[in-house]
């Protein structure tokens, strides 16, 4: 009886802790992506983050969608039409299905992950185009650790953290599967900072991101930053990143359909 009670308390605790209190169905965040060209930040694309609902015969899941599209003036030079999707649990944000469809210039790539949390594995499908324009499918099974998420879910999961309870300097690691490889993203809570954004002057949580044992995110702790509003919605209003081929930033343009 004592054990049953303990287990029940633990399960209840896990459910309460893993609750989604930040992300609402129908939320739409629009960003402007800028890239540093010869010292000048040039706006090149629009990035959107949307949420929706998907009903299957026995469950209702949260649909997380991220798109990136270059502005008209850039389409002639380098057209980008990227779509990142994730179907997750509306309460715990556990991913079930992830899709990544990339169209960048002449480059095309499609990735699909179906998560099996019972076996801690991911069934991956990679679709690419060869030089003749034919599509080639490659399926693999990747072993993952418990709690590993895709990149889209991880972004939303970071938003859902109880940052107000964290102390400056606190670091939390997240396991992410990307390109059939599991990697660890470290998120460090730096401080609170007030910044001017397109949706007003906002007090934000300043987070420093880094990838363990990877060179994708270059630079020090001040080069890859994410600013989340210090309110119940934790809207990502500003982000700056440094990658091997340069640096850029994301700025919020509009935010609608917020939960709180």
């Amino acid at each position: 009886m004592k054990h049953i009670l303990l287990v029940s308390i633990f399960i209840y605790g896990a459910m309460v802790l893993g609750q989604n209190n930040t992300i609402a169905v129908g939320e739409k965040l629009t960003f402007t992506a800028a890239y540093n060209m010869s010292g000048l930040m040039t706006e090149i694309a629009q990035v959107t983050m949307e949420t929706g609902q998907v009903k299957t015969s026995n469950a209702t899941l949260l649909h997380l969608k991220c798109t990136a599209a270059t502005y008209t003036k850039w389409d002639g030079f380098f057209k980008i039409r990227d779509l990142y999707e994730s179907y997750v649990s509306p309460t715990s944000l556990t991913p079930y299905l992830y899709k990544r469809d990339i169209n960048e210039g002449n480059y095309y790539k499609f990735m699909q992950y179906t998560f099996s949390h019972k076996t801690n594995s991911v069934k991956s499908l990679m679709r690419k185009k060869n030089s003749k324009g034919e599509t080639i499918d490659k399926t693999t099974s990747v072993k993952i650790n418990a709690g590993t998420k895709d990149i889209v879910t991880t972004i939303y999961h970071i938003r859902n953290l109880d940052i107000h309870k964290a102390t400056p300097g606190e670091v939390q690691n997240f396991k992410v599967i990307f390109d059939n490889e599991e990697m660890v993203i470290s998120v460090k809570y730096v401080s609170k900072e007030t910044i001017n954004t397109a949706i007003g002057k906002k007090e934000c949580y300043k987070l420093a991101l880094s990838l363990k044992n990877k060179d994708i995110l270059k630079g020090g702790t001040n080069d890859n930053l994410l600013y989340l509003t210090a309110d119940a919605n934790k809207i990502p209003v500003y982000a700056k990143f440094k990658i091997p081929v340069g640096n850029g930033e994301l700025k919020i343009k509009s935010a609608t359909g917020l939960k709180n």
Partner: protein, 134 residues
């Protein structure tokens, strides 16, 4: 010395003009300012040595055209996303495909809809009421 500034002025002015017509028009300010500086230096030397100033005028004309074009673009050209139809169609197709995949996946019990069991309970209630009436 004069020739050097004239050559540098022409190169930077042409570069500014090329950049001004491309989407990289914001960067055109840098060579345009450089062209103006080289132009003024060449103009000053030409005036002092009483040499022809026709080429220097060409530098100024090219620079002014590039600056006007860049300023016009930065004021009137708004950043707009182009044709999104393809992406929208892809989104819809992907969602339909995803629904099929999700049907075949094992979903955690916590995320399963309880609506089915609720519906069954509701259906059972009228029967019970009927029995009580009888």
């Amino acid at each position: 010395m004069r020739s050097l500034f004239i050559v540098l002025g022409i190169i930077t002015a042409v570069l500014a003009l090329i950049l001004a017509v491309t989407p990289l028009s914001q960067i055109a300010y840098i060579p345009a300012v450089a062209a103006l500086i080289f132009g003024f230096v060449a103009f000053y030397i030409s005036k002092r040595t009483q040499m022809p100033r026709k080429t220097v005028q060409l530098i100024f004309i090219l620079t002014i055209i590039s600056l006007v074009l860049t300023i016009y673009k930065s004021i009137f050209n708004t950043a707009e996303v182009g044709n999104m139809e393809e992406l929208e169609l892809k989104k819809e197709a992907s969602m339909e495909d995803s629904k099929e995949i999700l049907e075949g996946l094992e979903i955690d019990e916590m995320d399963l809809d309880s609506s089915e069991s609720d519906a069954l309970e509701i259906e059972e209630l009228p029967d019970l009421e009927d029995l009580e009436e009888q």
